[in-house]
């Protein structure tokens, strides 16, 4: 049975125009309806990400201990963040860690990718797995193992140096004011290079072999080949690797918390550790929020610049 739906009377010039417009509109119009489909996800995202984010921003304008009534102090927390030498040092340490968490892993990753993709080795998968392993090990385990490696007395690093007759180089790695930060940083390098390597190997496999053939015909050696073919074609992968590792370096908390607790002195304190410390140990929730907000802004800014450079040159 055919049901005829009641058709609204189209009377007058305006209604006619509107109906005409709807008929002519491309499928999917009106566009605003799309937002209705986004709503469920948006609500969850809003409740668990945007709302807490907004709340943190709000808290950063208060002096608040977590219990009693907070006091609005405007930009006071941000002012303290700039004037407090210890907090400034924490941000500086985070920037130094970018070198170890990001620049070095990308360099090592490139080298390994270049080597692995050129050779036709037996058991290549096995080597790749071994090299990727640090990325898979839980960070708590990583921290415990490296604390042991760095231990001044019977730690394998110092033992090794002594065995090699390099007694002068042995030191209390995590307890030395100059060496603690690089030591923590190198753990990060060890964790991150596997990720970079895997990204780059995948990228290399996409490069047409004809490009390599052409380079070889032109008489390029392995070095030239890498610079002229591999590197430019990996630009996107490098951008992704840099973004991921820079974020990891700036929000680094676990390795510092598990190895040095920010010591010796404050030589390895980093912003994320300060957020935790201020909020839960000292009870300055407002100041902790301000550090978190600034950290988030810095991460946005640096990753934004990295991606702009990567896209801009293409």
């Amino acid at each position: 049975m055919k049901v005829s739906l009641p058709v609204p009377a189209r009377s007058g010039w305006l209604a006619g125009r509107r109906a005409q417009a709807r008929d002519k509109a491309p499928p999917g119009e009106p566009r605003t309806i799309g937002y209705l489909y986004l709503l469920p996800a948006l609500l969850i995202y809003g409740a668990f990400v945007l709302l807490p984010l907004g709340h943190s921003v709000l808290l950063s304008f208060y002096e608040w201990d977590g219990i009693t009534e907070g006091t609005w102090i405007g930009l006071g927390n941000y002012q303290e963040l700039i004037t407090d030498a210890q907090t400034r040092a924490a941000f500086l340490h985070a920037l130094v860690l970018i070198l170890f968490y990001s620049v070095l892993p990308v360099a090592i990753g490139l080298l390994l990718a270049a080597l692995i993709s050129r050779t036709d080795l037996r058991g290549l998968t096995w080597f790749r797995t071994i090299l990727f392993l640090p990325q898979v090990v839980p960070l708590v385990v990583v921290a415990v193992i490296w604390s042991y490696i760095y231990a001044p007395g019977a730690g394998p690093l110092n033992e090794g140096l002594r065995a090699a007759g390099l007694d002068g180089l042995t030191r209390s790695w995590l307890g030395d004011f100059s060496w603690a930060l690089p030591s923590v940083g190198l753990i990060g390098t060890w964790v991150q290079y596997g990720l970079c390597m895997v990204l780059f190997i995948a990228g290399v496999q996409k490069i047409p072999t004809s490009l390599y053939d052409a380079a070889r015909v032109d008489g390029a050696g392995p070095g030239h080949e890498f610079l002229a073919v591999t590197l430019p074609n990996l630009r996107n992968e490098i951008a992704v690797a840099l973004t991921l590792t820079i974020i990891a370096s700036l929000r680094n908390f676990d390795l510092v918390y598990l190895t040095t607790k920010g010591g010796p002195g404050n030589a390895t304190s980093v912003p994320a550790f300060e957020v935790y410390n201020q909020a839960f140990e000292v009870g300055q929730v407002g100041f902790a929020s301000a550090i978190g907000v600034v950290l988030a802004l810095i991460i946005f800014a640096i990753t934004g610049v990295v991606n702009r450079i990567a896209e801009g040159k293409q």
Binding site: T68, G153, R171, G262, P264, F280, G283
Partner: protein
């Protein structure tokens, strides 16, 4: 272009929405009804006749601690059949981080373990979330049960501003002292006896060093152990009353004193003389303890909480003494304290039953149970344990300190940021990066800032 503008509009709408939601929930964080001066609803110590349930948050989760609290809970319920204990066990870290939220809930736990000091207990008192226990203290005679310092550590003025005085907010089950553990065989090999004066102790360090031993086993990677080394030496120079005044923020005291600078310079000399484990700032506390049990090191300065471990690993080869006084025959003074105190929340509707519970787990019988499970009961007149063991040494040291009221509190209670400041500064001092004079100035800056902000 138009869709871009649209998304901007909806984004700002969303932001406005979230801000409204936040605003509805009150923009200003925290509770505004400061119940600092709030009177307890009921002062009756009479236990309820009807069935009641007490929710208790404790952090007695490890070995012997867990055994004693479970036994005492069971015995309490046997004695008061109408009271049911609902135990919520959390780790120390967890309880510290969730307590503030729980205590400000409409239906908070009745009894909680609230850590001493300004950061946890002080802020809970300021927020009016803990109930003063003075009325119950009078009924049950708690003042006679403990030495004064142990109760002062759990006392605050009603507004939470003055520490160490005013209302009593909690009672501890166990005590702790920081003293010197020693390896008996090593001491005998070096032809040494337990030092009677501080100078004798320093001589012993030198003898041990000459013999190629590690005089003091020490690991300070965790930052907090440095407090023990510093205060062990500080007690030789700074009087105990000064330290109490300093920690509780009473009167016009400073950290930049000659005594503190002298203590700092002695500690630095010890480092220069090689009296500590090489590279101690990079050695873990647990690794140093483990090395001590493997006969590496003659002495180790730490708290009584390590006694079960050392006793188990070293048997009769380990002993414990208090850092000896400057003059032979003087009373030794030691850094010490107590386990986390049990407190009652303001929101508890069963304060009388809660007080009876706290009394029960800290009374004489409880002390015996705690002793049997390897703990050091906080109250005076602890049950005796066999002498010749490390626990025997510790129990008699505790008795002595209580009898002469010679326990001084941890200095990191002094200000909310003091833990950070003192641990980092001791690491710098012991690494020789700062002079004793600049060490006391840096630490004093933290103290002066806090006193000014109050």
């Amino acid at each position: 272009m138009s869709s871009g503008r649209l998304s901007m509009r909806s984004l700002s709408a969303l932001l406005a929405l979230s801000l409204t939601v936040v605003a509805c929930g009150s923009v200003t964080p925290g509770s505004s009804d400061n119940g600092g001066a709030q009177q307890p609803q009921s002062s009756s110590t009479e236990l309820p006749k009807e069935d009641v349930t007490l929710t208790v948050w404790d952090q007695e989760v490890r070995g012997g601690q867990n055994a004693q609290i479970e036994q005492l809970n069971k015995e309490f319920m046997d004695e008061y059949p109408n009271v049911t204990i609902k135990r919520v066990a959390k780790s120390f870290t967890d309880i510290n981080k969730t307590l503030k939220l729980a205590a400000s809930d409409d239906n908070p736990p009745d009894v909680v373990q609230a850590n001493q000091g300004r950061v946890v207990m002080g802020q809970l008192v300021t927020g009016g979330l803990l109930r003063p226990l003075d009325d119950y203290a009078e009924t049950y005679g708690w003042a006679e049960r403990y030495s004064p310092t142990l109760l002062e550590l759990n006392s605050f003025s009603a507004d939470g501003d003055q520490f160490g005085t005013g209302n009593l907010y909690g009672l501890p089950q166990v005590g702790e002292i920081v003293g010197v553990y020693y390896n008996k065989d090593k001491l005998a090999e070096l032809d040494l006896t337990i030092p009677k004066t501080f100078d004798e102790f320093v001589d012993a360090l030198e003898t041990a060093k000459q013999a190629g031993e590690i005089p003091i086993q020490f690991g300070n990677l965790d930052k907090w152990p440095g407090i023990h080394e510093f205060q062990a030496v500080q007690n030789e120079f700074a009087p105990k009353d000064y330290l109490r005044q300093f920690v509780f923020g009473l009167g016009d005291v400073s950290f930049a004193t000659d005594q503190n600078a002298e203590a700092a310079s002695v500690l630095q000399q010890w480092v220069d003389s090689g009296y500590f484990t090489p590279g101690f700032n990079g050695v873990k506390y647990d690794d140093a303890s483990a090395a001590f049990t493997k006969d590496e090191g003659v002495f180790l300065i730490t708290g009584t909480w390590q006694a079960p471990l050392f006793g188990e690993e070293m048997g009769k080869n380990v002993g414990f003494f208090l850092m000896p006084p400057a003059q032979s025959g003087d009373d030794p003074v030691a850094l010490g304290g107590e386990g986390l105190p049990f407190a009652i929340t303001t929101g508890s509707d069963q304060p009388a039953a809660a007080a009876a519970y706290i009394d029960f787990i800290t009374n004489e019988h409880a002390a015996e149970v705690i002793t049997q499970t390897g703990g050091l009961p906080a109250p005076k007149g602890a049950p005796s344990v066999p002498s010749g063991t490390v626990l025997g040494d510790i129990f008699s040291a505790w008795e002595q300190l209580n009898a002469t009221d010679s326990i001084v509190p941890y200095i990191d209670y002094a200000t909310p940021t003091f833990y950070d400041t003192i641990t980092a500064s001791v690491q710098e001092l012991m690494a020789g990066r700062v002079s004793p004079a600049s060490f006391v100035d840096t630490v004093n800056q933290d103290y002066a800032d806090f006193m000014e902000s109050r």
